[in-house]
Symmetry: C2
Subunit: 130 residues, 2 copies
């Protein structure tokens, strides 16, 4: 049976407080400040299991580590190619690539991810300063 442990509670609360798009490593570092006895393996395992149980979303980005997200409905993201920052983005007209497939190469599509890559405001101004 599934158990409610203090560790899991702290991990989920920390992810919530960090307000999204955190990687397992980021969550671990944040937790480690306040609760140095919670192990890295526990953070990775709890986040992975919660994602498998559908309690949160595991986002696998191209330019950076896996991120965990408590906002469940699928949404598009933009990542900074420089610092790895992640933000949600929305479109003027919604578009579903699965419904628009002309050729699926024999694959069975299940989900999709639209990812934009660019520069975040901070990295953008750093680049201008160079």
């Amino acid at each position: 049976m599934k158990r409610n442990t203090i560790q899991k509670h702290i991990i989920m609360e920390t992810l919530r407080e960090m307000n999204c798009h955190a990687s397992a490593g980021m969550v671990y570092e944040e937790i480690n400040r306040q609760y140095p006895t919670i192990s890295k393996a526990t953070v990775y395992r709890v986040l992975t299991e919660a994602a498998e149980a559908g309690e949160l979303l595991r986002l696998r980005f191209a330019e950076t580590d896996d991120r965990f997200d408590i906002t469940l409905p699928p949404h598009a993201h933009i990542t900074c190619r420089c610092c790895g920052a992640v933000q949600d983005v929305t479109f003027k007209t919604p578009w579903n690539p699965i419904e628009n497939l002309a050729d699926n190469a024999g694959f069975t599509p299940e989900r999709y991810h639209i990812e934009l890559i660019g520069l975040c405001p901070a990295c953008n101004s750093l680049k201008k300063a160079e």
Copy 2:
């Protein structure tokens, strides 16, 4: 000055013969059979440099390792969540997420990647067999 080495020639030819979407590790393994003296570091470095020089495309997928692709124009892909196979896909109506952005969260978009995730035909039939 840039030099033309046998190693680079073999690496690029192997990638071409493998007919796309190979990871650096896959290219290394393929080369290692015929030319066991070519080192792993050389394969990784040559592919990375060729991508930086625009000679090929480095695709960074969510569900699998980085892949290198000699087909240059941007195109959408579908990856198998089970075995990591990659295929190109096309859409009935083309759609550019950058032009359709309603909110860019302060980011400067540069490029995008549309990725579908699902099952390849082989993994699909394996699943049915279970």
